[in-house]
Protein backbone atom coordinates (compact mmCIF):
# COMPACT_ATOMS: atom_id res chain seq x y z
CA UNK A 1 0.00 0.00 0.00
CA UNK A 2 1.11 3.56 -0.75
CA UNK A 3 2.51 5.38 2.27
CA UNK A 4 -0.14 7.17 4.32
CA UNK A 5 1.70 10.48 4.12
CA UNK A 6 2.09 10.45 0.33
CA UNK A 7 -1.56 9.73 -0.50
CA UNK A 8 -3.78 12.43 -1.90
CA UNK A 9 -6.11 13.92 0.72
CA UNK A 10 -9.32 12.76 -0.98
CA UNK A 11 -7.97 9.26 -1.56
CA UNK A 12 -6.87 8.97 2.07
CA UNK A 13 -10.22 10.26 3.39
CA UNK A 14 -11.95 7.52 1.36
CA UNK A 15 -9.73 4.87 2.94
CA UNK A 16 -10.53 6.26 6.39
CA UNK A 17 -14.25 6.14 5.65
CA UNK A 18 -14.01 2.55 4.41
CA UNK A 19 -12.16 1.65 7.67
CA UNK A 20 -8.96 0.61 5.86
CA UNK A 21 -7.02 3.13 7.98
CA UNK A 22 -7.92 4.85 11.24
CA UNK A 23 -7.50 8.57 11.87
CA UNK A 24 -5.13 7.77 14.75
CA UNK A 25 -2.90 5.77 12.37
CA UNK A 26 -2.88 8.68 9.95
CA UNK A 27 -1.96 11.25 12.58
CA UNK A 28 0.73 9.06 14.14
CA UNK A 29 2.31 8.39 10.73
CA UNK A 30 2.16 12.09 9.90
CA UNK A 31 3.75 13.17 13.19
CA UNK A 32 6.50 10.61 12.74
CA UNK A 33 7.28 12.04 9.30
CA UNK A 34 7.17 15.60 10.60
CA UNK A 35 9.67 14.88 13.38
CA UNK A 36 11.95 13.02 10.97
CA UNK A 37 11.98 15.76 8.31
CA UNK A 38 11.67 18.99 10.28
CA UNK A 39 15.39 19.25 11.09
CA UNK A 40 15.90 19.50 7.32
CA UNK A 41 12.97 21.54 5.99
CA UNK A 42 11.92 23.78 8.92
CA UNK A 43 8.36 23.93 7.57
CA UNK A 44 6.78 24.38 10.99
CA UNK A 45 7.03 26.93 13.77
CA UNK A 46 4.83 24.88 16.11
CA UNK A 47 3.91 21.19 15.82
CA UNK A 48 0.53 20.52 17.45
CA UNK A 49 1.24 16.95 18.58
CA UNK A 50 -1.10 16.72 21.56
CA UNK A 51 -3.91 18.64 19.87
CA UNK A 52 -3.61 16.46 16.74
CA UNK A 53 -3.72 13.20 18.70
CA UNK A 54 -6.73 14.40 20.73
CA UNK A 55 -8.47 15.59 17.57
CA UNK A 56 -7.75 12.26 15.83
CA UNK A 57 -9.62 10.37 18.53
CA UNK A 58 -12.57 12.74 18.41
CA UNK A 59 -12.74 12.72 14.57
CA UNK A 60 -12.65 8.92 14.50
CA UNK A 61 -15.66 8.83 16.85
CA UNK A 62 -17.52 11.29 14.65
CA UNK A 63 -16.70 9.22 11.54
CA UNK A 64 -17.87 6.05 13.30
CA UNK A 65 -21.16 7.72 14.25
CA UNK A 66 -21.76 8.77 10.63
CA UNK A 67 -21.61 12.48 11.47
CA UNK A 68 -18.87 13.13 8.90
CA UNK A 69 -20.27 11.06 6.01
CA UNK A 70 -20.62 14.18 3.86
CA UNK A 71 -17.21 15.59 4.73
CA UNK A 72 -14.73 14.64 1.95
CA UNK A 73 -11.61 15.52 3.95
CA UNK A 74 -12.45 14.03 7.37
CA UNK A 75 -9.36 12.54 9.00
CA UNK A 76 -6.67 14.06 6.77
CA UNK A 77 -3.98 16.32 8.21
CA UNK A 78 -3.60 20.01 7.52
CA UNK A 79 -0.81 22.51 8.18
CA UNK A 80 -1.88 26.07 8.96
CA UNK A 81 0.06 29.22 8.14
CA UNK A 82 1.07 30.86 11.39
CA UNK A 83 -0.86 34.08 10.76
CA UNK A 84 -4.21 32.26 11.20
CA UNK A 85 -5.44 32.27 14.80
CA UNK A 86 -5.77 28.93 16.56
CA UNK A 87 -7.35 28.95 20.01
CA UNK A 88 -4.89 27.77 22.64
CA UNK A 89 -2.02 27.31 20.15
CA UNK A 90 0.49 30.10 19.72
CA UNK A 91 0.17 32.12 16.53
CA UNK A 92 3.39 34.03 15.91
CA UNK A 93 3.20 35.52 12.40
CA UNK A 94 6.88 34.44 12.38
CA UNK A 95 7.63 37.56 14.42
CA UNK A 96 9.41 38.16 17.70
CA UNK A 97 6.62 40.56 18.65
CA UNK A 98 4.08 37.67 18.66
CA UNK A 99 6.51 34.88 19.61
CA UNK A 100 4.41 33.82 22.61
CA UNK A 101 0.98 35.05 21.53
CA UNK A 102 -1.76 32.48 22.21
CA UNK A 103 -5.08 33.53 20.65
CA UNK A 104 -8.20 33.16 22.79
CA UNK A 105 -10.28 32.31 19.70
CA UNK A 106 -10.23 30.31 16.46
CA UNK A 107 -10.28 31.96 13.04
CA UNK A 108 -13.47 31.17 11.10
CA UNK A 109 -11.50 28.90 8.71
CA UNK A 110 -10.22 26.91 11.72
CA UNK A 111 -13.76 26.49 13.07
CA UNK A 112 -14.85 25.25 9.64
CA UNK A 113 -11.94 22.79 9.36
CA UNK A 114 -12.60 21.37 12.82
CA UNK A 115 -16.27 20.98 11.96
CA UNK A 116 -15.26 19.14 8.76
CA UNK A 117 -13.05 16.76 10.76
CA UNK A 118 -9.75 17.91 9.24
CA UNK A 119 -6.90 17.37 11.74
CA UNK A 120 -4.61 20.34 12.48
CA UNK A 121 -1.03 19.09 12.61
CA UNK A 122 0.88 22.34 13.08
CA UNK A 123 1.52 26.00 12.36
CA UNK A 124 3.79 26.73 9.44
CA UNK A 125 6.71 29.05 8.91
CA UNK A 126 6.28 32.18 6.81
CA UNK A 127 7.82 35.55 6.16
CA UNK A 128 7.31 37.86 9.13
CA UNK A 129 3.74 39.23 8.97
CA UNK A 130 3.58 37.70 5.44
CA UNK A 131 6.02 40.37 4.21
CA UNK A 132 8.45 38.65 1.87
CA UNK A 133 8.70 36.01 -0.82
CA UNK A 134 11.21 33.51 0.57
CA UNK A 135 10.58 32.91 4.34
CA UNK A 136 13.93 34.60 4.91
CA UNK A 137 12.29 37.38 6.93
CA UNK A 138 10.96 34.81 9.44
CA UNK A 139 12.16 35.26 13.04
CA UNK A 140 12.40 31.44 13.14
CA UNK A 141 14.80 31.04 10.19
CA UNK A 142 14.04 30.17 6.57
CA UNK A 143 12.28 27.01 5.39
CA UNK A 144 13.93 24.80 2.74
CA UNK A 145 12.52 23.76 -0.60
CA UNK A 146 11.99 19.95 -0.67
CA UNK A 147 13.06 19.93 -4.34
CA UNK A 148 16.46 21.34 -3.41
CA UNK A 149 17.20 22.33 0.15
CA UNK A 150 19.63 25.03 -1.00
CA UNK A 151 16.64 26.87 -2.52
CA UNK A 152 13.79 28.85 -1.01
CA UNK A 153 10.31 27.26 -0.96
CA UNK A 154 9.04 30.76 -1.78
CA UNK A 155 6.89 32.98 0.39
CA UNK A 156 5.29 34.25 2.26
CA UNK A 157 3.44 30.92 2.71
CA UNK A 158 6.73 29.03 2.21
CA UNK A 159 6.32 26.75 5.24
CA UNK A 160 2.82 25.73 4.11
CA UNK A 161 4.16 24.80 0.66
CA UNK A 162 7.28 23.04 2.00
CA UNK A 163 5.15 21.01 4.46
CA UNK A 164 2.87 19.68 1.70
CA UNK A 165 5.69 19.03 -0.79
CA UNK A 166 7.77 17.23 1.89
CA UNK A 167 4.68 15.19 2.83
CA UNK A 168 4.68 16.66 6.33
CA UNK A 169 0.94 17.35 5.87
CA UNK A 170 -1.61 16.29 3.28
CA UNK A 171 -2.83 19.81 2.59
CA UNK A 172 -2.23 23.29 3.98
CA UNK A 173 -3.62 26.79 4.25
CA UNK A 174 -1.69 29.86 3.20
CA UNK A 175 -2.62 33.50 2.73
CA UNK A 176 -2.07 35.60 -0.37
CA UNK A 177 -1.63 39.39 -0.40
CA UNK A 178 0.51 39.71 -3.56
CA UNK A 179 1.17 36.10 -4.63
CA UNK A 180 2.00 34.48 -1.28
CA UNK A 181 0.04 31.28 -1.99
CA UNK A 182 0.68 31.00 -5.73
CA UNK A 183 4.44 31.66 -5.80
CA UNK A 184 5.39 29.08 -3.10
CA UNK A 185 3.01 26.56 -4.67
CA UNK A 186 4.83 27.10 -7.96
CA UNK A 187 8.33 26.87 -6.41
CA UNK A 188 7.37 23.60 -4.68
CA UNK A 189 5.51 21.92 -7.58
CA UNK A 190 2.06 22.23 -5.95
CA UNK A 191 -1.40 23.59 -6.66
CA UNK A 192 -2.35 26.80 -4.84
CA UNK A 193 -5.53 28.83 -5.09
CA UNK A 194 -6.00 32.45 -4.12
CA UNK A 195 -9.79 32.85 -3.96
CA UNK A 196 -11.83 35.90 -4.96
CA UNK A 197 -11.64 38.60 -2.28
CA UNK A 198 -14.54 37.93 0.10
CA UNK A 199 -14.92 34.20 -0.63
CA UNK A 200 -13.06 33.04 2.47
CA UNK A 201 -13.54 34.80 5.81
CA UNK A 202 -10.58 36.84 7.06
CA UNK A 203 -11.85 36.69 10.66
CA UNK A 204 -8.85 35.50 12.65
CA UNK A 205 -6.33 36.10 9.87
CA UNK A 206 -3.77 38.48 11.33
CA UNK A 207 -4.00 41.47 9.00
CA UNK A 208 -1.20 42.62 6.71
CA UNK A 209 -3.07 44.54 3.98
CA UNK A 210 -6.79 44.13 4.61
CA UNK A 211 -8.03 45.01 1.11
CA UNK A 212 -5.71 42.43 -0.50
CA UNK A 213 -5.39 39.50 1.96
CA UNK A 214 -7.17 36.19 1.27
CA UNK A 215 -6.73 32.74 2.81
CA UNK A 216 -6.51 29.81 0.38
CA UNK A 217 -5.46 26.16 -0.05
CA UNK A 218 -2.11 24.64 -1.08
CA UNK A 219 -2.32 20.96 -2.09
CA UNK A 220 -0.66 18.29 -4.25
CA UNK A 221 -3.45 18.19 -6.83
CA UNK A 222 -6.47 20.13 -8.10
CA UNK A 223 -9.24 17.89 -6.62
CA UNK A 224 -7.73 18.20 -3.10
CA UNK A 225 -7.54 21.96 -3.58
CA UNK A 226 -11.17 22.19 -4.74
CA UNK A 227 -12.34 20.13 -1.74
CA UNK A 228 -10.34 22.22 0.75
CA UNK A 229 -11.53 25.49 -0.77
CA UNK A 230 -15.09 24.21 -0.46
CA UNK A 231 -14.51 23.46 3.23
CA UNK A 232 -13.26 26.95 4.11
CA UNK A 233 -15.45 29.17 1.89
CA UNK A 234 -18.71 30.85 2.81
CA UNK A 235 -20.24 34.05 4.08
CA UNK A 236 -19.19 35.06 7.58
CA UNK A 237 -21.00 37.81 9.52
CA UNK A 238 -17.79 38.31 11.51
CA UNK A 239 -16.00 39.61 8.38
CA UNK A 240 -17.72 42.67 6.92
CA UNK A 241 -15.92 42.14 3.58
CA UNK A 242 -17.17 38.57 3.28
CA UNK A 243 -19.40 37.94 0.25
CA UNK A 244 -22.23 35.43 0.12
CA UNK A 245 -22.43 33.11 -2.89
CA UNK A 246 -25.22 30.74 -3.93
CA UNK A 247 -22.93 27.75 -4.30
CA UNK A 248 -19.52 26.78 -3.02
CA UNK A 249 -19.56 23.32 -4.58
CA UNK A 250 -16.17 23.63 -6.28
CA UNK A 251 -15.81 19.87 -6.76
CA UNK A 252 -18.62 20.12 -9.31
CA UNK A 253 -16.12 21.94 -11.54
CA UNK A 254 -13.75 18.93 -11.64
CA UNK A 255 -14.62 18.24 -15.27
CA UNK A 256 -12.12 17.15 -17.87
CA UNK A 257 -13.61 19.34 -20.57
CA UNK A 258 -12.53 22.80 -21.68
CA UNK A 259 -13.66 22.59 -25.29
CA UNK A 260 -14.50 26.09 -26.50
CA UNK A 261 -13.16 27.79 -23.35
CA UNK A 262 -11.85 31.25 -24.26
CA UNK A 263 -8.39 31.86 -22.83
CA UNK A 264 -6.54 35.18 -23.03
CA UNK A 265 -2.74 35.38 -22.75
CA UNK A 266 -1.41 38.90 -21.93
CA UNK A 267 1.43 39.92 -24.25
CA UNK A 268 2.89 42.34 -21.69
CA UNK A 269 4.37 39.57 -19.53
CA UNK A 270 6.53 38.32 -22.40
CA UNK A 271 8.37 41.64 -22.31
CA UNK A 272 9.57 40.85 -18.77
CA UNK A 273 13.00 39.35 -18.20
CA UNK A 274 12.04 35.71 -17.82
CA UNK A 275 14.09 32.54 -17.31
CA UNK A 276 14.33 31.02 -20.80
CA UNK A 277 13.07 27.54 -19.94
CA UNK A 278 10.04 29.05 -18.14
CA UNK A 279 9.12 30.79 -21.38
CA UNK A 280 9.43 27.51 -23.29
CA UNK A 281 7.52 25.42 -20.72
CA UNK A 282 4.79 28.08 -20.57
CA UNK A 283 4.35 28.04 -24.36
CA UNK A 284 4.17 24.21 -24.27
CA UNK A 285 1.45 24.52 -21.62
CA UNK A 286 -0.48 27.01 -23.78
CA UNK A 287 -0.33 24.44 -26.62
CA UNK A 288 -1.73 21.80 -24.27
CA UNK A 289 -4.73 24.02 -23.54
CA UNK A 290 -5.13 24.49 -27.29
CA UNK A 291 -4.97 20.71 -27.84
CA UNK A 292 -7.66 20.29 -25.19
CA UNK A 293 -10.00 22.41 -27.28
CA UNK A 294 -9.58 25.89 -25.72
CA UNK A 295 -9.48 28.98 -27.92
CA UNK A 296 -6.29 30.94 -27.18
CA UNK A 297 -5.75 34.60 -27.98
CA UNK A 298 -2.85 36.94 -27.19
CA UNK A 299 -3.98 40.39 -26.05
CA UNK A 300 -2.57 43.74 -24.97
CA UNK A 301 -2.77 44.34 -21.22
CA UNK A 302 -0.65 47.41 -20.51
CA UNK A 303 -2.80 48.46 -17.55
CA UNK A 304 -0.85 46.06 -15.30
CA UNK A 305 2.45 47.78 -16.09
CA UNK A 306 2.37 49.75 -12.83
CA UNK A 307 0.82 47.07 -10.63
CA UNK A 308 3.99 46.46 -8.56
CA UNK A 309 4.32 50.16 -7.70
CA UNK A 310 0.60 50.36 -6.91
CA UNK A 311 0.81 47.24 -4.78
CA UNK A 312 3.74 48.64 -2.76
CA UNK A 313 1.82 51.81 -1.94
CA UNK A 314 -1.51 50.18 -1.04
CA UNK A 315 -0.05 47.20 0.85
CA UNK A 316 2.40 49.29 2.90
CA UNK A 317 -0.19 51.98 3.69
CA UNK A 318 -2.56 49.34 5.03
CA UNK A 319 0.24 47.54 6.87
CA UNK A 320 1.29 50.77 8.56
CA UNK A 321 -2.21 51.15 9.95
CA UNK A 322 -2.76 47.46 10.78
CA UNK A 323 0.52 47.05 12.63
CA UNK A 324 -0.01 50.12 14.82
CA UNK A 325 -1.73 47.80 17.32
CA UNK A 326 1.55 46.18 18.42
CA UNK A 327 2.48 48.45 21.28
CA UNK A 328 3.77 46.15 24.01
CA UNK A 329 0.70 46.81 26.16
CA UNK A 330 -2.27 44.62 25.19
CA UNK A 331 -0.52 41.43 24.03
CA UNK A 332 2.73 40.15 22.63
CA UNK A 333 6.32 41.18 23.29
CA UNK A 334 7.36 44.10 25.51
CA UNK A 335 10.94 45.43 25.63
CA UNK A 336 12.75 45.02 28.95
CA UNK A 337 14.19 48.48 29.50
CA UNK A 338 12.30 51.71 28.88
CA UNK A 339 12.20 55.16 30.43
CA UNK A 340 8.53 56.06 29.90
CA UNK A 341 5.44 55.11 27.87
CA UNK A 342 6.73 56.67 24.63
CA UNK A 343 10.01 54.82 25.05
CA UNK A 344 8.15 51.56 25.76
CA UNK A 345 6.33 51.83 22.42
CA UNK A 346 9.49 52.63 20.45
CA UNK A 347 11.72 50.02 22.06
CA UNK A 348 9.03 47.31 21.88
CA UNK A 349 8.36 47.95 18.19
CA UNK A 350 12.05 48.56 17.40
CA UNK A 351 13.13 45.27 19.00
CA UNK A 352 9.99 43.26 18.17
CA UNK A 353 9.74 43.89 14.42
CA UNK A 354 12.29 42.69 11.88
CA UNK A 355 13.92 44.85 9.19
CA UNK A 356 11.43 44.14 6.38
CA UNK A 357 8.39 44.87 8.55
CA UNK A 358 9.90 48.18 9.69
CA UNK A 359 10.71 49.09 6.10
CA UNK A 360 7.11 48.55 5.02
CA UNK A 361 5.66 50.43 8.01
CA UNK A 362 7.96 53.38 7.20
CA UNK A 363 7.00 53.33 3.53
CA UNK A 364 3.32 53.20 4.48
CA UNK A 365 3.73 56.21 6.78
CA UNK A 366 5.51 58.09 4.00
CA UNK A 367 2.82 57.54 1.34
CA UNK A 368 0.06 58.41 3.83
CA UNK A 369 1.71 61.61 5.09
CA UNK A 370 0.00 64.90 4.28
CA UNK A 371 2.55 66.03 1.68
CA UNK A 372 2.62 62.71 -0.16
CA UNK A 373 -0.93 61.43 0.15
CA UNK A 374 -2.11 62.72 -3.23
CA UNK A 375 1.08 61.93 -5.12
CA UNK A 376 1.39 58.34 -3.91
CA UNK A 377 -1.62 56.96 -2.05
CA UNK A 378 -4.40 58.51 -4.12
CA UNK A 379 -2.40 57.98 -7.31
CA UNK A 380 -2.15 54.26 -6.45
CA UNK A 381 -5.89 54.10 -5.78
CA UNK A 382 -6.55 55.58 -9.23
CA UNK A 383 -4.25 53.08 -10.93
CA UNK A 384 -5.92 50.30 -8.96
CA UNK A 385 -9.22 51.32 -10.54
CA UNK A 386 -7.61 51.27 -14.01
CA UNK A 387 -6.29 47.74 -13.33
CA UNK A 388 -9.73 46.54 -12.13
CA UNK A 389 -11.42 47.97 -15.23
CA UNK A 390 -8.82 46.41 -17.54
CA UNK A 391 -9.55 42.99 -16.03
CA UNK A 392 -13.31 43.58 -16.34
CA UNK A 393 -12.86 44.42 -20.03
CA UNK A 394 -10.65 41.36 -20.59
CA UNK A 395 -13.21 39.08 -18.96
CA UNK A 396 -15.87 40.27 -21.37
CA UNK A 397 -13.84 38.38 -24.00
CA UNK A 398 -12.21 35.55 -22.04
CA UNK A 399 -13.24 32.90 -19.50
CA UNK A 400 -9.79 32.77 -17.96
CA UNK A 401 -6.41 34.51 -18.37
CA UNK A 402 -3.21 32.49 -18.51
CA UNK A 403 0.37 33.60 -17.69
CA UNK A 404 3.51 32.14 -16.12
CA UNK A 405 3.35 32.13 -12.32
CA UNK A 406 6.91 33.41 -11.76
CA UNK A 407 9.73 34.81 -13.89
CA UNK A 408 12.26 32.38 -12.41
CA UNK A 409 12.20 29.08 -10.53
CA UNK A 410 13.06 28.97 -6.81
CA UNK A 411 16.29 30.93 -6.23
CA UNK A 412 19.09 29.84 -3.92
CA UNK A 413 18.52 30.97 -0.34
CA UNK A 414 22.11 32.23 -0.26
CA UNK A 415 21.40 34.58 -3.18
CA UNK A 416 18.47 36.30 -1.45
CA UNK A 417 19.41 39.52 0.34
CA UNK A 418 16.37 41.04 2.07
CA UNK A 419 18.14 44.37 2.60
CA UNK A 420 18.77 44.81 -1.12
CA UNK A 421 16.06 46.65 -3.11
CA UNK A 422 14.90 44.59 -6.07
CA UNK A 423 11.84 44.29 -8.22
CA UNK A 424 10.25 41.09 -6.94
CA UNK A 425 9.63 38.63 -9.73
CA UNK A 426 6.59 37.14 -8.06
CA UNK A 427 4.90 40.52 -7.56
CA UNK A 428 5.20 41.33 -11.28
CA UNK A 429 2.92 38.47 -12.27
CA UNK A 430 0.78 38.23 -9.16
CA UNK A 431 0.04 41.58 -7.53
CA UNK A 432 -2.50 42.84 -10.08
CA UNK A 433 -4.75 39.87 -9.23
CA UNK A 434 -4.91 40.94 -5.57
CA UNK A 435 -5.45 44.59 -6.51
CA UNK A 436 -8.48 43.51 -8.59
CA UNK A 437 -9.66 41.00 -5.94
CA UNK A 438 -9.80 38.14 -8.46
CA UNK A 439 -9.34 34.37 -8.03
CA UNK A 440 -6.21 32.72 -9.42
CA UNK A 441 -4.54 29.33 -9.24
CA UNK A 442 -0.97 28.24 -9.72
CA UNK A 443 -0.51 24.71 -11.06
CA UNK A 444 2.67 22.80 -11.92
CA UNK A 445 3.47 22.59 -15.62
CA UNK A 446 7.00 21.17 -15.84
CA UNK A 447 10.57 21.25 -14.53
CA UNK A 448 13.40 23.58 -15.54
CA UNK A 449 16.86 22.39 -16.59
CA UNK A 450 17.90 22.09 -12.93
CA UNK A 451 14.87 19.93 -12.13
CA UNK A 452 13.03 22.74 -10.27
CA UNK A 453 9.24 23.08 -10.68
CA UNK A 454 7.67 25.66 -12.99
CA UNK A 455 4.13 26.93 -12.43
CA UNK A 456 1.46 28.38 -14.66
CA UNK A 457 -1.10 30.90 -13.40
CA UNK A 458 -4.81 30.74 -14.27
CA UNK A 459 -6.73 33.92 -13.43
CA UNK A 460 -10.54 33.89 -13.26
CA UNK A 461 -13.26 36.51 -13.25
CA UNK A 462 -14.73 37.61 -9.93
CA UNK A 463 -16.18 34.50 -8.21
CA UNK A 464 -15.03 32.49 -11.25
CA UNK A 465 -13.26 29.85 -9.14
CA UNK A 466 -15.11 27.09 -10.99
CA UNK A 467 -13.68 28.19 -14.37
CA UNK A 468 -10.10 28.04 -13.13
CA UNK A 469 -10.68 24.75 -11.32
CA UNK A 470 -12.14 23.17 -14.49
CA UNK A 471 -9.22 24.41 -16.63
CA UNK A 472 -6.64 23.43 -13.99
CA UNK A 473 -8.15 19.96 -13.60
CA UNK A 474 -8.24 19.34 -17.37
CA UNK A 475 -4.62 20.47 -17.67
CA UNK A 476 -3.49 18.43 -14.66
CA UNK A 477 -4.86 15.25 -16.26
CA UNK A 478 -2.40 15.66 -19.12
CA UNK A 479 0.59 15.52 -16.73
CA UNK A 480 1.70 12.99 -14.13
CA UNK A 481 2.30 14.29 -10.59
CA UNK A 482 5.99 14.89 -10.01
CA UNK A 483 7.24 14.66 -6.45
CA UNK A 484 10.62 15.69 -5.07
CA UNK A 485 13.13 13.18 -3.77
CA UNK A 486 12.43 13.70 -0.11
CA UNK A 487 15.24 13.28 2.38
Amino acid sequence: MQEITSMSALQLAQKIKSREISVQEVVKAQLETVYKREPVYNSYITVMEKEALDQAEEVQKRIDSGELDCSPLAGVTIAIKDNICTKGTRTTCASKILENYVPPYDATVIEKLKKAGVVLIGKTNMDEFAMGDSTKTSYFGASKNPWDIKCTPGGSSGGSAAAVAAEEAHVSLGSDTGGSIRQPASYCGLVGIKPTYGTVSRYGLIAFASSLDQIGPICRNVPDCAALLEAISGHDPKDSTSAGQKSYDYRQALLDDIKGMKIGVPKVYFEEKMQEDIRKIFLDAVNTFKDLGARIELFGFDAVKYSVQTYHVIACAEACSNLARYDGVKYGFRADNYANLEDLYKKTRGEGFGYEVKRRIMLGAFVLSKDNFEKYYNKARKIRRIICEAYENAFERYDIILCPETLETAPLLADIDITEPKKSSSLTLNSSVNLAGLPAASIPCGLDKNGMPVGIQLIGKRFGEKDIIRAAYSFERTRSYERPEII
Partner: protein
Amino acid sequence: MVMDKETFRLMADMIKLEFSEKEEKLLFDHLNKTIEFIDTMNELDTDSTEPFTFVYPKKNTFREDVVDDRDINKDLISGAPDICGGYFVVPKSIE
Protein backbone atom coordinates in the same frame (compact mmCIF):
# COMPACT_ATOMS: atom_id res chain seq x y z
CA MET B 1 16.82 61.56 -2.87
CA VAL B 2 13.10 61.84 -2.13
CA MET B 3 13.13 61.56 1.64
CA ASP B 4 15.69 63.48 3.69
CA LYS B 5 17.06 62.40 7.07
CA GLU B 6 14.88 64.88 8.96
CA THR B 7 11.66 63.53 7.42
CA PHE B 8 12.87 59.96 8.03
CA ARG B 9 13.41 60.65 11.75
CA LEU B 10 10.16 62.59 12.11
CA MET B 11 8.20 59.70 10.60
CA ALA B 12 9.97 57.10 12.72
CA ASP B 13 9.09 59.17 15.77
CA MET B 14 5.44 59.47 14.75
CA ILE B 15 4.97 55.75 14.14
CA LYS B 16 6.98 54.83 17.24
CA LEU B 17 9.85 52.92 15.67
CA GLU B 18 13.42 52.80 16.84
CA PHE B 19 16.39 51.63 14.77
CA SER B 20 19.99 50.73 15.39
CA GLU B 21 22.52 52.97 13.63
CA LYS B 22 23.32 50.27 11.06
CA GLU B 23 19.65 49.55 10.45
CA GLU B 24 18.85 53.24 10.03
CA LYS B 25 21.49 53.69 7.33
CA LEU B 26 20.36 50.59 5.41
CA LEU B 27 16.71 51.49 5.70
CA PHE B 28 17.22 55.12 4.70
CA ASP B 29 18.92 54.12 1.42
CA HIS B 30 16.53 51.25 0.79
CA LEU B 31 13.45 53.44 1.31
CA ASN B 32 14.73 56.14 -1.01
CA LYS B 33 15.39 53.60 -3.77
CA THR B 34 11.91 52.11 -3.27
CA ILE B 35 10.26 55.54 -3.44
CA GLU B 36 12.18 56.34 -6.64
CA PHE B 37 10.81 53.11 -8.11
CA ILE B 38 7.25 53.82 -6.94
CA ASP B 39 7.52 57.31 -8.40
CA THR B 40 7.56 55.83 -11.92
CA MET B 41 3.82 55.23 -11.63
CA ASN B 42 3.36 59.00 -11.88
CA GLU B 43 4.20 58.66 -15.60
CA LEU B 44 0.64 57.41 -16.08
CA ASP B 45 -2.06 60.00 -16.66
CA THR B 46 -4.91 59.38 -14.20
CA ASP B 47 -6.57 62.82 -14.26
CA SER B 48 -9.90 61.46 -15.40
CA THR B 49 -9.92 58.47 -13.02
CA GLU B 50 -11.65 58.34 -9.65
CA PRO B 51 -9.74 56.67 -6.79
CA PHE B 52 -10.63 53.04 -6.14
CA THR B 53 -12.84 52.27 -3.15
CA PHE B 54 -13.78 48.57 -3.04
CA VAL B 55 -13.29 45.52 -5.29
CA TYR B 56 -16.99 45.10 -6.03
CA PRO B 57 -20.15 47.12 -5.44
CA LYS B 58 -21.14 46.43 -1.87
CA LYS B 59 -23.40 48.07 0.65
CA ASN B 60 -21.94 48.84 4.02
CA THR B 61 -22.32 45.89 6.37
CA PHE B 62 -24.07 46.35 9.67
CA ARG B 63 -24.91 43.96 12.46
CA GLU B 64 -27.21 44.15 15.44
CA ASP B 65 -25.70 46.04 18.32
CA VAL B 66 -26.21 43.24 20.83
CA VAL B 67 -24.27 42.98 24.06
CA ASP B 68 -22.25 39.79 24.10
CA ASP B 69 -21.88 38.69 27.68
CA ARG B 70 -19.44 35.86 27.10
CA ASP B 71 -16.98 35.94 29.95
CA ILE B 72 -13.81 36.35 27.87
CA ASN B 73 -12.21 39.36 29.56
CA LYS B 74 -9.77 37.12 31.39
CA ASP B 75 -8.81 35.29 28.18
CA LEU B 76 -8.34 38.52 26.28
CA ILE B 77 -6.13 40.13 28.88
CA SER B 78 -4.12 37.00 29.65
CA GLY B 79 -1.73 37.62 26.75
CA ALA B 80 -0.68 41.06 28.00
CA PRO B 81 2.94 41.49 29.12
CA ASP B 82 1.94 43.09 32.45
CA ILE B 83 -1.48 43.06 34.13
CA CYS B 84 -2.81 43.88 37.59
CA GLY B 85 -6.34 43.33 38.88
CA GLY B 86 -7.75 42.94 35.37
CA TYR B 87 -6.01 46.05 34.00
CA PHE B 88 -3.08 46.56 31.60
CA VAL B 89 -0.05 47.98 33.38
CA VAL B 90 1.90 50.77 31.64
CA PRO B 91 4.55 53.22 32.87
CA LYS B 92 3.23 56.37 34.54
CA SER B 93 2.05 58.64 31.73
CA ILE B 94 0.57 61.64 33.62
CA GLU B 95 2.88 63.74 35.77
